[in-house]
């Protein structure tokens, strides 16, 4: 019985803490994304006008590690039995990707555009290489920040 109680506590804790943290994170992501609306980050290597004069370019990189809560891990474990979309991991990866891009943009606040954007993910932590476990996910976003000379 004690084991079940401990389990129920962990699940409730995971669900409450996880939901609160996730909502808070999404609020922050949405606010910062609208702040950075004027700094586009694109995957093409060259999207500049032909007559644009470049002041400087440099590499920008943003990375984040997000961990999964007990509730989501348990839900994904159940999913492993039946198959199908692992919905509980979707927000985890989505948050990691967007946060990484935001951190990357924060490195180049005054840039005009970020070219050649790439996003990569990897799982890290103790259970990273085990078959059915996912500890935390790391997302790295990197690209080339381009600063143009002011015209006139």
């Amino acid at each position: 019985m004690e084991q079940l109680i401990i389990f129920a506590v962990l699940i409730t804790l995971g669900y409450t803490a996880g939901t609160i943290a996730e909502r808070k994170h999404y609020r922050s992501i949405n606010a910062r994304e609208s702040n950075f609306l004027n700094l586009p980050a694109v995957t093409v290597k060259n999207a500049l006008d032909e007559d644009a004069e470049i002041e400087k370019v440099h590499l920008v990189l943003g990375s984040v590690v997000v961990s999964i809560d007990y509730f989501k891990r348990f839900l994904a474990g159940l999913r492993n039995l039946f198959g199908g979309e692992v919905k509980s991991y979707e927000t985890l990866v989505d948050r990691a990707r967007r946060e990484a891009v935001l951190r990357m943009k924060e490195k180049a606040e005054r840039a005009n555009i970020i070219l050649n954007l790439r996003i990569e993910t990897s799982s890290i932590g103790q259970s990273a290489n085990k078959r059915q476990a996912l500890g935390s996910v790391e997302a790295i976003a990197y690209g080339t920040a381009v600063y143009l000379k002011k015209k006139g």
Binding site: M1, E2, N38, R73, K87, S88, T91
Partner: protein, 274 residues
């Protein structure tokens, strides 16, 4: 190329279904399957256990003998065997050679292991002050053998352990959850079996000594001692001592068993470790 900033309204990468709904759906499915397997397993084990020949049980007992074979033949151990032998003489049928072993241990507990091995932990002796009470504990374990509970428990656990480890691996949180819920179902079976063994022991005690004094002593003592914490090992598989005393007293009244003077415990038990 002109860039027009625009905010994205929907997020296609996230499903907007409630995770709680998904949890209950999946959990219901898993628990349903586990329950079906468990019930099927229960029937299978019950059939196998009834037909299991004594030879195979002896082989199974061999698995355990390695753990406890080295207990020395102390005076206390010999006396324990004598008490057990006297009880066994009263049994209508004897399939196994029953062996009592006194093992050093800090838990006040006794075990019935396959192959006719009765394990008594030294901490249990300290809680006992008469030979009659010790005989009752031994008779209780003989009751488990008579009802073949020791095989039932072993069979279910072995099969379940095998399945969960084979399907999910040992460190999956799902395995842990399934195991803990299964153990809780098992507890109910065990409590019923403990009750049956208690009543068997009471009957055997009466046949051996002609009275049942001392039968409830151990549980009375335990219920006084362990009032503080109920989350101890002993109680997780056994009913609460208080309710066991109640059931035994009812039975004693019903059958009209006599109460006579108890035989004090042999001196050799006083300090079994020395």
């Amino acid at each position: 190329m002109k860039y027009t900033p625009r905010e994205l309204k929907d997020n296609v990468n996230i499903s907007w279904t409630s995770p709680l709904k998904e949890l209950f759906l999946l959990l219901g499915g898993v628990l349903g399957i586990v329950l079906l397997v468990y019930i099927a397993l229960g029937f299978a084990v019950d059939v196998v256990v009834k037909k299991l020949p004594a030879e195979i049980e002896k082989d199974l007992g061999g698995l355990y003998s390695g753990m406890y074979e080295n207990t020395e033949k102390t005076p206390a151990g010999l006396r324990l065997q004598q008490i057990l032998d006297e009880l066994v003489k009263q049994l209508p049928e004897r399939e196994l050679q029953y062996k009592a072993r006194l093992v050093h241990g800090s838990r006040a507990n006794a075990l019935a292991l396959p192959g006719g091995n009765v394990i008594i932990f030294s901490a249990l002796i300290k809680e006992i002050d008469s030979e009659n009470t010790l005989a009752f504990v031994l008779a209780h374990e003989l009751g488990h053998f008579a009802n073949r509970d020791h095989l039932r428990g072993l069979g279910r656990r072995l099969v379940l352990l095998f399945f969960s480890v084979a399907l999910l691996g040992t460190d999956s949180s799902v395995t842990n959850f399934i195991m803990s819920s299964v153990i809780n179902v098992e507890m109910k079976f065990s409590q019923r079996q403990e009750k049956m063994a208690d009543l068997f022991a009471l009957d055997l005690l009466n046949r051996r000594y002609g009275h049942v004094s001392g039968a409830t002593d151990f549980f009375e003592r335990m219920s006084k001692k362990e009032k503080m914490s109920h989350i101890l090992y002993y109680f997780t598989t056994h009913p609460y001592p208080e309710s066991r005393v109640g059931i035994l007293n009812e039975k004693i009244k019903e059958k009209g068993y006599a109460m006579k003077e108890k035989i004090p415990l042999n001196d050799s038990f006083k300090s079994p470790e020395d």
